[in-house]
């Protein structure tokens, strides 16, 4: 991929939460690139640090206890971590916007949905209230909600419709980058299909880039161009969708894939990854996955393996993959 259509670049981002129980090492040097018009999927389990990364990009980490310890987030030639809060506010919603996980709790219950869409439009555009109203109604229609329902309140909507409202808010200013944090996890499969379809359509229309955070490998396969597998605050495997899905190298990625019940083939027993995710206040010294890895050797426990290119854009953080190479 050529350098010039890189929209956003995260370099070595480190985020910690300082709590009474110790320092939670939520994100340990994550680097990702997002290209114009492309979708990057981040997959990982609860507590892997996916949401922390998304919030880190938008500087929405609650502080205290959260702290961005190091790294850069380059957007449009600027490091978002260094600009003033005032400048950052101009970026949020206008250039980069976010869809949060839980549609039930991320809308304001005492504002009509039209007013909530108008809020972001008025924040970023110098236009009259009338015009903003019109645009908000257009947005509603665009996401498949009749404009006359705009003066209703969130509790009058179903889960799927609330998520549509949130998508309307996120896309109202036609951002360059959409960060979607588990946008369909709280929804039923048929509604999930509708919402994914809608996001895809709008994304193509405006050539928006997307960072999709999910734990569902199926959703990634259907929507993403690039994939990053996140484990204990690190990216352990990264590449194009095809590279990662067709030629997975990291034992964690393999374990994750094998543990999903397969609809296409029949397996009597599911493969499991033994054990649990390590405690982020007390991470293993070397490879974070070494405690659960079948192939781990003493060498794995000595130091954190580097990301190694194994061909194309495919990168893996595993000593074994290095040796294979």
């Amino acid at each position: 991929m050529a350098e010039n259509n890189k929209l956003l670049e995260v370099k070595d981002l480190v985020i910690r939460y300082e709590t009474d129980d110790g320092v939670v090492e939520a994100l340990n040097g994550v680097s990702i690139d997002i290209y114009t018009g492309k979708t990057l999927g981040l997959v990982g389990e609860t507590g892997a640090g996916k949401t922390t990364l998304a919030k880190g990009i938008l500087r929405l980490i609650p502080s205290p206890p959260g702290k961005i310890v190091g790294g850069e987030v380059i957007y449009d030639g600027k490091d978002l971590l260094k600009i003033s809060e005032e400048e950052m506010r101009k970026i949020r919603g206008k250039h980069i916007s976010m869809i949060f996980q839980d549609p039930m709790t991320s809308l304001n219950p005492v504002m009509t949905v039209r007013d909530q869409i108008m809020e972001v439009i008025l924040q970023h555009n110098r236009i009259s209230k009338k015009e903003a109203e019109k645009r908000a109604e257009d947005m509603l229609e665009l996401v498949g909600i009749p404009a006359e329902r705009g003066h209703e309140y969130p509790h009058q909507f179903s889960g799927g419709m609330k998520q549509r409202v949130i998508i309307a808010i996120a896309l109202a200013c036609q951002p360059k980058l959409l960060i979607a944090d588990e946008p369909t996890t709280a929804l039923d499969v048929t509604i999930q299909a509708q919402v994914l379809d809608l996001i895809q359509k709008l994304k193509t229309r405006d050539n928006t880039s997307m960072l999709l955070i999910t734990h569902d490998l199926g959703v990634v396969a259907q929507t993403c161009d690039y994939v990053g597998i996140v484990y204990a605050g690190e990216i352990v495997e990264y590449g194009t969708l095809r590279e990662v899905y067709k030629d997975m190298r990291h034992p964690y990625t393999k374990g994750l894939m094998a543990s999903i019940p397969n609809l296409v083939e029949n397996v009597r027993r599911l493969q499991t990854i033994e054990g649990l995710m390590p405690d982020p206040t007390n991470l293993p010294k070397g490879c974070k996955f070494s405690d659960r890895c079948k192939y781990a050797t003493d060498k794995c426990r000595e130091k954190v393996p580097e990301m190694v290119n194994v061909g194309g854009e495919h990168m893996v953080r595993c000593i074994l993959a290095q040796q294979e190479k």
């Binding site: 419709m161 509604i191 299909a193 067709k246 543990s259």
Partner: protein, 329 residues
């Protein structure tokens, strides 16, 4: 092969209605099926389709409005309180949310011992025997002995769900309703729990009713599957048959909506119109009518009911056999 299997549970015309300020809510409406000993019946459907209510109505955790539930040939809806309490040894449930279904003030061993004390399998005096049984159960579900005195908040979701399973197993039941037992868990943990449940079924000859919205889980786990929509059964078939030859338009749409983790898998999602309609005072006729891509006037006929399209495969659709329906498979 299945003919000589013994039927354990049979449900006939089961209904559960709730009175709400807006009208009568038809949560479960005229459901019929049976489960053979040692087999698993998967029940799938989206939120609000009545699958959990049905599971609870069968155990009389919600008193059914009408219908019959036969367990080992006897209609348990006629049982009085005492008989029912005794029957609970045979019929247990594992709940969905391992974070909400455990008493936060009981330790792991207390939580597991509770059902046995309630059922008077042990008295407080047989402390040693009871503790031995608790340890046995903990081992069976893969909980380390050192966790005996831990409280639920100290444990992760997977371990909590193991406690829920140990509690259900403590009374040596024959039948367990599993209400979304893995939905709240991460995939790698989900696989551990599913394998555990499968091993227990093999070892103890358990019969499961497995309620879930996750079709890949249900396919992996079940012998037969019931698909529910708005309180009604729309399709019932052996697992293989249902996935190979889904007949009801809702089943077809549901199957097509599952994201397959393979970039080469052809994606042709059937997008349904709108969302689930209200179960309060539903109009007569097919309840899927408003969202169905193939709906016609004949679908408003009041009595549709299940019809057998091939041995063991039942469908409730007015337009069975219509060539339009089979195009999308």
């Amino acid at each position: 092969m299945k003919e000589n299997k013994k039927e354990l549970l049979r449900v006939e015309g089961l209904k559960k209605y709730f009175n709400t300020p807006g009208g009568l809510l038809h949560a479960v409406d005229n459901v019929n099926f049976s489960i053979n000993e040692g087999e698993t019946l998967g029940v799938v459907g989206e939120s609000g389709c009545g699958k959990s209510t049905m599971g609870r109505a069968i155990l009389r955790l919600h008193e059914p409005t009408a219908g019959k539930v036969f367990f080992e040939g006897k209609n348990i809806l006629e049982y009085d309180k005492n008989k029912m309490k005794h029957l609970r040894r045979d019929m247990q449930i594992v709940f969905q949310d391992p974070f909400a279904s455990l008493n936060p003030r009981l330790t792991v061993s207390e939580a597991i011992a509770a059902p046995m004390l309630i059922q008077k399998l042990y008295t407080k005096k047989d402390k040693e025997a009871l503790q031995k049984r608790v340890s046995e159960l903990m081992e069976m579900v893969g909980l380390a002995d050192r966790l005996k005195n831990s409280y639920p908040h100290e444990l992760d979701g997977g371990r909590r769900q193991r406690i829920g399973i140990a509690r259900a197993l403590s009374l040596k039941p024959k039948f367990i309703v599993c209400d979304e037992p893995v939905s709240a868990l991460d995939v790698s943990i989900q696989a551990q729990i599913l394998n555990l449940m499968q091993d227990l079924q093999d070892d103890l000859g358990l019969t499961y009713m497995f309620i879930t919205h996750n079709l890949s889980v249900v396919k992996h786990f079940s012998d037969n599957i019931v698909v529910m929509y708005l309180g009604q059964m729309v399709e019932m078939a052996p697992t293989e048959t249902l996935f190979k030859n889904p007949v009801h338009p809702y089943t077809q749409a549901l199957l097509s909506a599952i994201p397959i983790p393979d970039p080469d898998y052809p994606m042709n999602r059937i997008l349904m119109k709108g969302e689930i309609t209200s179960p309060i005072d539903p109009e007569p006729g097919c309840r899927f009518y408003k969202r169905c891509p193939y709906a016609k006037d004949c679908c408003k006929n009041p009595e549709i009911g299940l019809r057998e399209v091939e041995p063991g495969h039942f469908v409730s659709c007015e337009r069975i056999g219509d060539p339009e329906l089979s195009e999308n498979r």
